[in-house]
Symmetry: C2
Subunit: 249 residues, 2 copies
Amino acid sequence: MSKLQALNGLQTPFVYKLSAFMSFSNDEMAILDRFDHPQRSFAAGTELVHEGQSNPAAYILVDGWAISYKVLRGGGRQIVDFQIPGDFLGLRSVLLRTADHNIESATAITAVEVGVPDVMATFRESPRLACAVLWALSSDEAIVVERLVSLGRRDALERVAHFFLEFGARLKLVGLATREGYACPLSQYHLADALGLSAVHINRVLRQLREEGMMTFRGGKVTFDDFDGLVKLADFDTAYMDFEGPLLK
Amino acid sequence: MSKLQALNGLQTPFVYKLSAFMSFSNDEMAILDRFDHPQRSFAAGTELVHEGQSNPAAYILVDGWAISYKVLRGGGRQIVDFQIPGDFLGLRSVLLRTADHNIESATAITAVEVGVPDVMATFRESPRLACAVLWALSSDEAIVVERLVSLGRRDALERVAHFFLEFGARLKLVGLATREGYACPLSQYHLADALGLSAVHINRVLRQLREEGMMTFRGGKVTFDDFDGLVKLADFDTAYMDFEGPLLK
DNA sequence: CGTTTCATTGAGTTGAGTCAACATGGGTGG
DNA sequence: CCACCCATGTTGACTCAACTCAATGAAACG
């Protein structure tokens, strides 16, 4: 853990997350240091990547929340995922060469930009780090898959419950949540667009969860009133986010 | 293209797909050859990977269709994706160390097994190939994301239309589809579980598409009766599957 | 303070689900 | 070679979860 402190503190959530997958040698830390470009700040609602944009940039999110989404013909949108500190922004778009979705900041954020050359150079110098990036990408996909299951086969109540539990788990990984709850800067409209529901219905479901003593989402704060009950209600499986320690020693 | 023929023919769909991303040197072809384990055959309905299984194997699908799915509490299932020749099976599970979903063959299939050591060795010897694998993983994720959008914000008609167009595009990449149609070995139950609908409703939607002269799905064959109309109906964007040629020269 | 954005609640509508019956057709055992 | 079976496909009648429309608070903001 002391090694982490050798790094620029602002980048820590990223390394913190990756260390769930592998432990880093000094050499590898040095390579990662190359990612440590000066961090940039963006106001809430800034568009970072636009669908169709070619050769988009990738970022590592250091602070704040971001949104990946797609816009549909009718003007509606589907939020694919929210990114929290430590997450990559737009890594997939970089590899596919054109962005297949939009990314914007949900709150004021700070992030460091990562270029394709940085990624390639890292791959060249450390296959283990390449694996780590692959692992991060796989984790992102696992999250998307889990939401796919929610949209396909869970009703509104289970869907909302599952969502808040999932973010509890993700935020816990970077030290931003406890079993009691966490800060969540999203509006009910955000939830609606992420969960394939209308904002009105989200509101009704939140009320039901509150009245049944399961959880409360109010004023930007999530409070778990009955964690175990919620886990049962949502059929939440923590396994896909539990790590028994680094895979690569 | 002549280089492709130097490889074991059975593995060709995979290399064929990857060449959309990059062109291969002779050295790289040699490295890829290491993947060329003897292919194995499995009967339809064989379980290849089970959710929760640790250290699962990965495969490259050579012939036939496979299904990735998750099972829910109530016994229902959500199909995450179907894999066609050239696709990886279970690559994500390998990197996450435990399988987070099930994989089974939908038809009789042949596949070659790929071990973690193979992947790691490849990464060590060729960062460019590592990038190619990363690209393949990104493509998979793009597909899952597109289905997420379908489940979240498209109605049944658009969803079904989009699905068949998407597989048309994917199969075309490995030479198994034309603008006229393709062979599709799935049942209406498969479609239902993939698209978050009931089998009964799938049936009604298929009838509607047929009666409106858009497309026909019958006897394991998809026929596009009005391709452009279908693209418009589904709001289908071919961009996320169109490649202008290899990114890496 | 007007204005805007977000949250809340009621009333009526609808897309998709469920249940149930029946058709078709390949496969299998007697 | 036939009779039956079981999986798949088809259709109608009824139900319900979630949507839309609409109106009203409440808090945030320049």
